[in-house]
Symmetry: C2
Subunit: 127 residues, 2 copies
């Protein structure tokens, strides 16, 4: 597979964020680099990058499909306050199971991210 400047741009845009963006965001960003890039090219390259394992797709309930250039084993925390998806290191997670045939798993936590929790605490202290 060739690594065209379009494919490079899509990949770099994803590498430079930890925000797990959707296609619309990725498209907007790559257009800052290659103004006339086609949305079709963005979709195509996301698929290609997925198929060679350079990126991951992640599904959080009710949200549009999002992409992640961090392909290392990690979990996600979906913040119920701000909707942000935060990376969670697997050193913080311990999963044991007795299911036959499993070769991997994805775990998504739902709750309040550090940032929102700090904001809440701060506003409560004021009262």
């Amino acid at each position: 597979m060739r690594f065209s400047k379009q494919r490079e741009a899509v990949y770099n845009v994803l590498c430079q964020t930890t925000s797990h963006p959707d296609v619309a965001w990725i498209y907007a960003r790559t257009r800052e680099i290659i103004p006339n890039i086609s949305i079709a090219t963005v979709y195509r390259n996301l698929q290609e990058l997925l198929s060679i394992g350079k990126i991951k797709k992640l599904s959080a309930e009710g949200y549009a499909e999002r992409y992640d250039a961090n392909v290392s084993d990690h979990a996600h925390l979906v913040c119920s306050c701000c909707g942000k998806i935060v990376d969670i290191d697997m050193s913080q997670v311990d999963v044991k199971h007795s299911i036959a045939g499993v070769d991997r798993y994805e775990i998504t936590f739902y709750g309040c991210c550090d940032e929102c929790r700090n904001n809440k605490d701060a506003s409560q202290n004021k009262q």
Copy 2:
């Protein structure tokens, strides 16, 4: 909220399967009960049932959004052979974590379901 016969039909269709179907499947099935039901009504009722917690929506990487009338705490196994999603009882799963602010999590296992594993074994024994 009223429980119209359309809402009832959508809910019953979901209750009578463990296949975690998508909207298209649910629509087809409810039309067997109410032939002139509108696709809009199906979407609407899925949203309503979601909002009152009677059903759950689940996201598996790369698949369309699927629905589940089993709202008890359980996990899923997505079969990499046949694509089927199988319910996993939480007694088979033990998750420990040290993440602050978390109130729940969703865990999805990927691998080979019992059925496919049995088929594989059978075909290998023949050789």
